[in-house]
Symmetry: C2
Subunit: 223 residues, 2 copies
């Protein structure tokens, strides 16, 4: 990379950080907890959101911002659960940026508890972009392999929690959940780790409770 390229990237990241800070402040003032989901393509982000929609229904209100290179598919799946969702199609860009979230924010209803952002499927680039979230969750699905944390360290280092997904497939795979967890913890000590099967619903209540606690803390700090 040339010096010119690096300085342009630094400008972009600094501008992004400012936009993210404004989003964090606005959502916090509205008492909304924002959660950024980050993973490889096909790790189960949308399926996890569908499962959370079922578990949170009647107790909490949620909304979802979907990021994809192309198609409205993920937003349509979320809307089918009766959840407000906005699709951002980046048209080629490999990650979401705070200014893209900023443009959608005025549409987000005031009376919600959780705003989920499903990032573009990519375990590398989205890790560098703060979207104004309060919690960043990285998903690792069992078929991807237990060797991924050390190979893609920035995503794990920048996360608040790791969600090991597709636990139902573990019996059919050379995947050791304890090894994946230990490696992630060696990169980010204190990382909260959840194991879920969104298709079967296993572990989703524990994750929902973690989000509910974080929401409580946000609202207590504001009060």
């Amino acid at each position: 990379m040339t010096t010119k390229t690096i300085s342009v990237l630094q400008d972009l990241l600094a501008t992004n950080k400012q936009a993210a800070a404004a989003i964090r402040q606005e959502l916090s003032s509205r008492g909304i907890l924002c959660i950024n989901l980050l993973s490889s393509p096909g790790s189960g982000k949308t399926t996890l959101l569908e499962s959370l929609a079922d578990r949170l229904r009647g107790r909490y209100r949620m909304a979802v911002i979907e990021g994809d290179i192309e198609t409205e598919r993920d937003a349509e799946r979320i809307r089918a659960k009766g959840i407000p969702a906005w699709q951002i199609t980046t048209g080629g860009a490999c990650h979401l940026e705070a200014r893209m979230i900023g443009r959608v924010l005025s549409h987000v209803p005031a009376a919600i508890d959780f705003l989920f952002i499903e990032n573009v499927g990519n375990l590398v680039c989205p890790a560098s972009y703060d979207l104004g979230e309060d919690l960043r969750c990285v998903l690792l699905s069992s078929p991807e392999g237990d060797d991924k944390p050390a190979k893609y360290p920035q995503a794990f280092l920048s996360a608040d929690c790791l969600i090991l997904t597709k636990a139902d497939l573990v019996p059919y795979l050379p995947f050791d959940p304890a090894k994946a967890a230990a490696e992630a913890l060696s990169i980010k000590p204190g990382l909260r780790i959840f194991t879920v099967s969104a298709l079967r619903g296993d572990g989703v209540d524990e994750l929902a409770a973690y989000f509910a606690e974080a929401l409580e803390r946000l609202r207590s700090a504001r009060a």
Copy 2:
């Protein structure tokens, strides 16, 4: 993205294209077929290369350039099969570029048939970078889902062949191989499609035969 950023990116891609053309010419003059493997993290690129090493042994000689953000793990796995392998760690960059391949090229033995490049696990960014390959293969593993081609079109549009991996997991998944294939073909008509289970070895011979035919064509064109 600002105009300045776009022009810097265009400069980078133009410089990359020149370096790729030089690599293609050099490898072609040596009679070596170069194959660039591109996919999400954990789609089975390294396991496929291990399986190909077993199938090609005694008939063809191969070498592998491994791209990862961090760790030598993949190169070590390939070397354990008795195959020469070089690890490029990008230290954060989300894709390989032709100049990175260029630096390794002088180490590649003259007497090989296939040079495989395993790109950084990322279904987005590597699609924009020509590495001087003769064939580009995109891998899609069954757990990732049959909806991925339309969501990540550039990877499929730029590929010569699609390899549907982890076929052994299909019975446990909501994955329709015919749907994935049809969607990929709607993006890239004429795309060659292979279905493999590298762990069981299913379909790997057909893929090896496809590479052998391409090698024959390269050497006939040179003669």
